[in-house]
Symmetry: C2
Subunit: 343 residues, 2 copies
DNA sequence: AATCAATTCCAAACCGCTTTGGATAAAGCA
DNA sequence: TGCTTTATCCAAAGCGGTTTGGAATTGATT
């Protein structure tokens, strides 16, 4: 059933039917109701392809998921972020277009996506330091919102980020307040923007309390269980081993915990851990009582908010870039406790 | 730059330019080269919206990701599956459309997606027993491939699945051969088709070796770390506690491992664990040496193959349903060993 | 009663491509 | 030489909607 057929059945012109369905004023209310009823009766869905061509809008948003070409890792937060964003799109009649792209030919993908007219806007995932994509998308001239930030970018752009520096600073201070003096950071890869900020928050807190950051107690690797395990094991084997860990993710944290337990130490007594918890749906940090003390910020909610920002930007392309900084909560769990007394 | 402009610049008709670019024979080779060169020079990308309308094809595939409305959990394998499928789509000029849908209004989503003409085919994720979506998509009449199977469905349909029954049977037999007699299953939710099959494989192996399955040693819960931890803790507290666990996922396995270590037992000596490893990129089972003994099957590869099946089906809608059963590898890691001697 | 402004509807153009059905010129054949 | 093929290109008609620019009808105003 298409518009013309429906119009014929109603004895109206396609014009009127179209207007009736789209809520334009120049159509009699009784006519509109007739049309609406008929549309429902024949379960008419306007052909998206035609709408897109006629309106010149794609009614779709592109998410470009970069895959690090060396490691082939898909960021695990991505699924929940998408789930949040997807809600917003479907509520607003937008489609979500996903491109999974190795980071060596990202540029081509972005350009094509826009030139082909496949999307009205783009969400940028996994920004790195001095990310080339920000100037690129400015040049292309398409609305976009970055999930995270790209330090070292000169021009303004829209972004939504968690205050990673602040979160890690607070986590570190919390541990310092508990008496810990030898603190370790198990961080993600530090060419990623968020990881850099977390490191800054960590060292800032140390320095502010007169503790000199020890490079041997700061690792920067992929956020996997194994990497966390290895990094923590190595540090725990040092002469002056750390009594507390600040860890970049739930998964790494599980690796750190394993290293701690493997070393015969008790979590929350001998060694404390604070992780960052993205509230991934399949990696809940405890049911009622949180297991890990954590800086917490829902990545699904971030997905929702980012999507809303982008749709606004699309509706209002000349508006100024919007920025949104979310604060992470500090959740006290069972993985932290006072620093053990020196022997 | 659109087709008409390009044609004008070349002094040709849009018809000829279109044909030249799409490889039709009725155009002179030298003309074709001229056109190609000009297209590249002006970086012309044909407008997807127009192509879709003109050809009546969506050139897009829909992935409908169900979110269990009670738990709001996004299946973690989904990200890697998508990554695999995405490769295939971009190689073939298809877009990937993602709909994240709570499982209470799935039907509407599927119907609309097709009625609107947004997709040429659909991938069904997370099939359950007697899944309603299979008959629904048959009724709608759109090519689709199921990732997994839907037991209890009468009509034929295309699917790609891992031989879950066989994998879990082999894993169980492997443990029995190591001398284990009290085996536990930490399974996913058993209304999911794959979980049911895994359970069958587990009990089949037991029965075949004269062991009566003990309901107290079979849990069926969400595949989270915590659920794994709780289930294993409970079982390890039983009088006749299990000496071996067959576990449905890497993440649950990490919970089981934690329970084992928490109980003061040594993995691979006191207690053995076999997990199923989907080879998620951010959850590698060890670097060179696998940590867990595991039944292994790459979900990313499954994504690739499923996508290829669907594209074939779209190109050839009258062909018979295709079925593809992947066998999982059994990988020996450090989490298994001979059953401990009875005390 | 004549004029003007709404109100309500429609015909036709348009979005940017593909594709059908020729037209023209060159080549092949009897 | 005249006629049929073959090669090459083009005009125009879609695809299924939206949107512009009227036209016809009705109601209000003077």
């Amino acid at each position: 059933m298409n518009l013309k057929e429906l119009a014929t059945k109603l004895g109206l012109s396609p014009t009127t039917v179209s207007r009736a369905l789209n809520g334009y004023p120049e159509v009699n209310e009784t006519t509109r109701e007739r049309v609406m009823a008929a549309a429902k009766r024949y379960s008419y869905s306007p052909n998206t392809r035609a709408i897109r061509l006629a309106t010149g809008r794609a009614l779709a948003v592109g998410h470009v998921i970069p895959i690090a070409s060396q490691h082939e890792i898909v960021n695990p937060v991505f699924a929940d972020f998408i789930a949040g964003a997807g809600e917003v799109y479907s509520r607003n009649g937008y489609d979500m277009l996903l491109s999974v792209v190795r980071d060596d030919d990202e540029e081509r993908t972005y350009r094509e996506l826009v030139a082909r007219g496949a999307v009205d806007g783009i969400i940028v995932h996994g920004p790195r330091m001095q990310d080339r994509r920000v100037p690129l998308l400015h040049e292309i001239g398409i609305p976009f919102v970055v999930h995270g930030r790209a330090s070292g970018t000169s021009s303004a752009y829209s972004w939504l980020d968690v205050n990673n520096r602040r979160a890690f600073q607070r986590a570190t201070e919390f541990l310092i307040d508990l008496g810990h003096r030898r603190l370790a950071l198990v961080n993600g890869l530090e060419f990623m923007d968020f990881a850099m900020r977390r490191r800054t928050g960590f060292t800032d807190a140390l320095v502010a309390h007169g503790i000199t950051p020890d490079p041997a107690l700061m690792s920067s690797e992929e956020m996997t269980e194994i990497a966390g395990f290895h990094a923590a094991s190595r540090m725990l084997n040092m002469a002056a081993s750390p009594t507390a860990f600040v860890v970049s993710s739930m998964i790494s944290g599980m690796g750190v915990r394993r290293a701690v337990e493997r070393a015969g130490l008790v979590l929350g007594r001998d060694v404390s851990i604070i992780i960052h918890d993205d509230e991934l749906s399949y990696l809940r940090n405890g049911d009622d009582v949180p297991i890990f003390t954590a800086t917490r910020s829902s990545v699904r909610e971030a997905g929702r908010l980012t999507a809303e920002m982008l749709l606004e930007l699309i509706a209002n392309p000349t508006s100024h870039p919007k920025e949104r900084l979310l604060e992470a909560e500090l959740i006290i769990g069972q993985s932290t406790g006072p620093a053990p007394r020196e022997v």
